[in-house]
Symmetry: C2
Subunit: 244 residues, 2 copies
């Protein structure tokens, strides 16, 4: 059996997230169906992590095992005709023994895009959270810095998540302005369910003056989800890269 | 009667173009339906020009007449809830006597985006023509310069178009590289049906070495559509601005 590692790009808008589920079209399902047709055998893929409905990926990584011997470029070129327009395999390589897309991952980089305009912009709507009204970016930036380091992110985890530990390490957390766009880049060891979106929702409330930057410290200490901000909408979020 | 001028932005992907037609959803139809609901009267809008199915607009301009007296911001804010997600009114103003979105226009700026990568990129697929293989950009640029000036663009007009004259003036024609993206910006007095897309299709054949940059001169002289390149696909094209 060979372990193949694929890099995927997808527009999450019309997907009900990564994981196969009874209702709704998912990335995993579309990919497994295409791979099974290509390899003429049942294929089960494992991703670096699940992405929620509506969340995009510029570089999601998956692996799977197969006994078939296909040239690597067949995964990129051969799958092109078998995959829908909103999902593509952009890279393929042979992975070493013991590689696991999820367990071998050392970290991830997510980007969240906020568009600060009073009017909706259809040409950007799929990939941004459009927010009207002023945002105090300097306060948001001061707050974002407080996420860096190893913390218990229980307050930034969707209610009902079942994980062993809610401690995660954030290596970098930056807020950058690019015209009307506000780009939030966060890199860390791993992320809890909805973690980036709750971070963003909380930062936005800080930018709107509803919270102080220092409140992040209290949230990290209390671990109470109900004290944090609202979950920002999915379409602004993109998994940019997985580090191994 | 007041003449109202609206600026629209739309994602053309899921529209069968601008103009109302029996089959397919159109921008004009969606806008007229929303305006009629807002104003509680039949509204007929006139655009600066039609855009084809799949072509986007960052700033399309339309006008219409109404006897109702609404504050201008009602057109932006009131229409928001009445328009679909891929169409928005981003500006409204009262137009002077005799203003006509099409006949008063002095020029237009179109942008065509080419993404030069061997693999498809779903996050950019809606707004680019994705082209594999090398392109000699310097040759394309030399060719593009030849469009500038007043010429008979008959060779760059969709067959079957019924226009009085195929002479148009191109004021600027630029090709710019931005990473993997190749941006073709063209500004002119007016454009024939499919003109920008045939210009782009021809430039790409020049970039691929299938034609010489000088062949543009012969095309402008011959006026034969069949001698020009293929029509580039619609999703790369965006109407950026209309000048008055």
């Amino acid at each position: 059996m060979t372990c193949i590692r694929l890099t995927l790009e997808y527009d999450g808008t019309d997907f009900a997230g990564w994981q196969v589920q009874p209702n709704g079209r998912t990335v995993q399902e579309e990919l497994e169906r295409a791979l099974s047709r290509l390899l003429k055998e049942e294929v089960r893929v494992h991703a670096s992590g699940r992405t929620d409905a509506g969340v995009h990926a510029r570089e999601q990584v998956v692996h799977f095992h197969t006994g078939k011997k296909l040239p690597l470029k067949a995964y990129v070129e051969g799958l092109r005709a078998l995959l829908p327009r909103d999902l593509a395999v952009v890279g393929a390589s042979e992975a070493g023994e013991g590689f696991h897309a999820r367990f071998s991952a050392r970290g991830k980089w997510y980007r969240y895009r906020i568009l600060r305009t009073g009017v909706p912009h259809p040409l950007q709507a799929r990939y941004c959270w459009q927010l009207a009204g002023p945002l105090e970016v300097a306060d948001m930036r001061r707050a974002a810095e407080r996420f860096v380091g190893e913390h218990d992110f229980a307050a930034f985890c969707a209610a009902g998540s079942d994980v062993r530990t809610t401690v995660r390490r954030i290596d970098a957390c930056e807020l950058r302005e690019d015209g009307d766009l506000l780009l939030f880049d966060v890199r860390g060891s791993g992320f809890l369910r909805n973690m980036v979106r709750i971070m963003v929702g909380t930062l936005v409330e800080i930018g709107q003056g509803k919270r102080q930057p220092e409140s992040i410290d209290r949230l990290l200490a209390s671990g109470r989800r109900e004290d944090a901000g609202k979950t920002a909408p999915p379409q602004g979020l993109c998994l940019m890269r997985v580090f191994y």
